[in-house]
Symmetry: C2
Subunit: 501 residues, 2 copies
């Protein structure tokens, strides 16, 4: 008696396949294609997104979901079938709220806006981006009107990336952080000379950087028989299946950090994708629970592990063997301090762990107030710079180094940024919970052993794929809601030691 | 009043996009994907081929074609619109003969069969490939039953690759060739010692092989801003647009020929794909007229040019510079003879020009008899070896060197092989016609200049894309039907000189 359920699975399986194939097209676009192929790529992405969207929002899909809901009425909440239908219902209702012409116009406008943003950033000319940005914001207001919200219009956009998250939630998270983080960064800045990061600013040949980083993430547990790494201008992780996960990185021949910590970071996303239960493969339940949870995994392996002292007690001798000319006279302690230098800077993606969340706070508050009508588009640079002064203590000399630095607005990604900070908070909250269950984890890390930690993440986070909403998943895994306490304690302990505070 | 024509163009444009995207998925499968991804690839190929097939054979497509036929009734035969509708009609009528489930199953089965074939060849284990091959042949018999045929069931498969070609046509072509070719090879074999090919059997580092071959094909006119080269087990050319053409090669560190002439070969396919008129981009008229015509372009640049004396008068000094240790004491004449050594051998793709067609004869006769029910799947190795003995005078010691050597059966490409011989014949017929129009071509080649020759191919073959049937195209380009006279004269002249016959 599961005819509708089977038909629903098959239909949604095709949607998932089309989405995965679109990810391949986009991966190829950013890692492989010859320059002349740009126009045909745009056409291919358009036809795939059109077909998958049509299939997803078709009346037929709605009827199948309604019928399947009856069929799974007695299935337990955690079961595959009940979860599939529940997640299908949520996705369908959300997608149906947006008229097809709005979706199509957003695609068209953002495709053009991307070009405008690239040029505006290149020329440090915010005014050149204003028309596109204004148009995108008009469409975002239409989207908000279609979706509705309870307290703040920005809530409707946050919910696109982190289900149920509200502006009030984010504000309260940042209020908590701000109290301790701003003084911490100030204290560190006053002792800026205590850390010298010149060891990581030397010449490091690309092939050796690559070999070392891939050796590490193999030990972490990134499975290269079900994944690979390529180069791209902007690093990312994408997947076409739990068994086909692609990460990318970029190399700076004169700076160790981007490729090294970038690879650690993307491998965290990658291991999450590879860790969905095999039974979820090819369904809408495969993959991650949310962007915030995803980011918790990348930040865990990049920072909590990859920038920790125990980790480097094991790996630093191997790094020295790889780069003897550069590092043989640099002690483990000096290297550990170098990779953990804190310094207020302009570019988010290059920010250290301590200042990173301040970048997110700036963007969040500007976004929220633009959406709420408190900041006009033309006044964004001024608002940005004021907040930068307030939180980071520095004012970007150009908009290219300020409000124009990130791609997200050009693709309409308002509401995306707070997930980065959520990832930071969760990375420590999850790690602490894992260590409570397995107190030997820090010692294992010092031996280059990660299977207990990865095993805990696998069984508490990864295997569930997208079955649970992020709040549910975190409650199940840690026994409490997301909190900032663990993260702040982690930062204070780590940097007090490094900077002798 | 061209509403139906516009709707037809848009619909077929989506079909072309899906087909191009499928080609990307398959390219990724053979050049990039991690081994674990095989199952998901099969699923992706299946959904794409299902969707494009459904769209192609939908009643709606038929109605649009019928309406468009009226709209273009007064357009000239050569016009874009008339050609589009004519080719759409032909494709539609052919595709309607195959049920969607058969097409989908073939995609799924062949995606898995590819892996089986790779393993079977690696392990020289024909039995391991039998289940896949049997399944494919069952599907081929269903296909033949759907399509129908006049004389021989194999005709229904030949027609997939070369419109209107029959087993009787192929048999008669090979009968003509056999009369002169078998004695020629025999005469050469009796003077086997006249040519020493040891110069090409030395150690040649892969990176230098690659750089040299890519330098040559850039000079030929392969446009790397609209294409790229990767490595794969079996070399091939595919395209996702006239502006996105991918060729692949493989390297033998101890043998110059495979990567060198392989790259020349695939670049010929690639230049054909890149040469469609820009107005055909994204339509069903973009690409090649048939496999046979396609192969004429690859064999032209691989052999007629790439193994010619004038070509090497220009490029041999550069090859010597690339490999001084290996070649500085090898004269141009000795090298020219070495790359043109004729010797019955096991592997088709590495065969010399004189014995190549004998390999095709073996495969053709085995295929025809398997399809005709005269050879059982399990008896293929025995039948293969017997024919190898008869035509080439040698018996492969393993099936990896015999019937398992080629990829084609794993993707269901029965009926494909005769197009290779057609390509050989046409390569010389077209070259002779171009030289008649531009007698300076051989001198230009000796100067490393290929633009006149490529220009002639561009305007007589490439720009037309798939507008004309192969027989029409060859008649327009050369003023006569395909013939074997030019090809046999070319072989006899070339090898009489080399072997002093």
């Amino acid at each position: 008696m599961s005819d509708s359920l089977d038909a629903l699975k098959s239909r949604l399986g095709d949607v998932v396949s089309l989405t995965n194939i679109q990810a391949l097209v986009e991966w190829d676009q950013q890692t492989q294609m010859p320059p002349g192929a740009a126009a045909s790529k745009a056409r291919h992405v358009e036809v795939l997104s059109k077909l998958s969207h049509e299939m997803e929002v078709a009346d037929e899909t709605g009827s199948l979901i309604a019928a399947a809901e009856k069929e799974v009425a007695s299935a337990t909440y955690d079961s595959f079938d009940a979860s599939l239908v529940r997640v299908a219902r949520r996705g369908y209702d959300r997608a149906r709220k947006l008229p097809t012409d709005l979706v199509a116009e957003m695609s068209r406008v953002t495709a053009m806006a991307h070009e405008d943003w690239v040029k505006a950033r290149q020329n440090d000319d915010f005014a050149a981006f204003v028309p596109s940005l204004t148009k995108i914001l008009e469409l975002k207001q239409r989207e908000i009107a279609c979706k509705g919200y309870k307290e703040h219009p920005y809530d409707a956009l946050l919910d696109n990336f982190e289900i149920g998250l509200t502006a009030a939630d984010v504000d309260s998270m940042f209020s908590e952080l701000r109290v301790e983080l701003v003084p911490l960064v100030k204290a560190i800045t006053e002792r800026a000379d205590a850390v010298d990061d010149s060891p990581v600013h030397q010449e490091f040949p690309e092939d050796k950087q690559r070999a070392f980083a891939e050796m590490v993430v193999s030990k972490y547990g990134f499975d290269f028989s079900r994944g690979r790494q390529d180069k791209s201008v902007h690093p990312f992780c994408t997947s076409f299946s739990r068994d086909d996960v692609r990460i990318t990185t970029r190399f700076d021949p004169n700076w160790l950090n981007p490729a090294l910590f970038g690879t650690f970071h993307e491998s965290g996303h990658g291991m999450y994708e590879q860790g969905s239960d095999p039974s979820l493969e090819g369904t809408i339940l495969c993959g991650g629970a949310s962007l915030g949870v995803h980011e918790s995994q990348s930040r865990l392996w990049e920072n909590v592990i990859g920038r920790s002292y125990p980790f480097w007690t094991h790996f630093y001798p191997k790094l020295q063997e790889t780069f003897p000319g550069q590092l043989k006279d640099v002690s483990l302690d000096a290297f550990y301090r170098a990779i953990n230098k804190v310094e207020p800077s302009f570019i988010r993606v290059e920010a250290d762990e301590a200042t990173y969340n301040l970048h997110i706070m700036i963007r969040f508050e500007v976004e929220r107030d633009v959406i709420g009508g408190k900041i006009a588009v033309k006044d964004i640079p001024e608002a940005w710079n004021a907040k930068s002064k307030e939180y980071l203590g520095i004012v970007p000399p150009t908009n290219a180094l300020g409000c124009l630095q990130d791609i997200h607005w050009s693709f309409g990604g308002f509401g995306y940024f707070p997930t980065y900070s959520i990832g930071n908070l969760l990375s420590v909250q999850l790690y602490d919970t894992a260590v409570k269950a397995h107190p030997a984890i820090p010692e294992e890390i010092a031996d280059g052993e990660f299977s207990t930690l990865l095993g805990w993440m696998r069984s508490n986070i990864h295997v569930h794929g997208a079955k649970y909403e992020p709040k549910e998943l975190i409650m199940r895994a840690t026994g409490e809601p997301m909190q900032s306490r663990s993260y702040m304690k982690y930062l204070k302990t780590k940097y007090s030691a490094i900077y002798g505070l």
